[in-house]
């Protein structure tokens, strides 16, 4: 059962690399924000998997709650900041 969690964590990391493409090469700033949001929501699942691997789920679940909250607040603050900036469409290809 531990091997299954290990391989699931590795596959989840590869999926995060796929989302990282959009975060690095996104044409606009908001595309990068989408990629960062997707990576953050995958990280909460990855933290629980790491907790299952180390058999300390009771500790890692609190870190996952804090990370989900931090991801939400970061996306809200960044989108509120880029809302005021006009001229985003100049970066569009």
């Amino acid at each position: 059962m531990k091997d299954i969690f290990f391989y699931a964590a590795i596959i989840l990391c590869l999926i995060m690399v796929l989302s990282l493409y959009r975060a690095v090469f996104g044409p606009t700033i908001l595309d990068r924000l989408i990629g960062v949001n997707a990576i953050g929501s995958k990280t909460t699942a990855l933290l629980i998997l790491i907790g299952l691997l180390y058999q300390r789920v009771d500790m890692f679940v609190d870190i996952a709650i804090a990370y989900a909250m931090l991801n939400f607040i970061a996306v809200l603050a960044a989108s509120k900041y880029f809302q005021k900036r006009k001229g985003l469409q100049d970066n569009e290809t």
């Binding site: 299954i4 989408i34 995958k42 909460t44 629980i48 299952l52 009771d58 991801n71 939400f72 880029f82």
Partner: protein, 104 residues
Amino acid sequence: MDILVVILLVLGLFFFFGGAVGIIRFPDFYSRLHPAGKLDTAGLLFSMAGMALYTAHDLTWGSLLTALKIMMIVVFVFLTSPTATHAIIDAGFTAGLSPWTKDK
């Protein structure tokens, strides 16, 4: 019980993979938010349900509390992920990004 956990984990990873492919391949900013908002939430629900089931299968109070906490993360993400998606779309709409059309 273990088979159910593995099925839920694989289903969650499948939804995550679909979301990542959709984020890469959709042509436009507005349409990219569709897999980012929906499939990540669905994948998180299935994979977290599998892991909560594996945590709670020895029926002690501590493991049941941990499984309840994992499901509370799912409830929290179900509230916050549409809110974050709506905030990003509102930022793009206010900044004046034009949506993708077929002839562009």
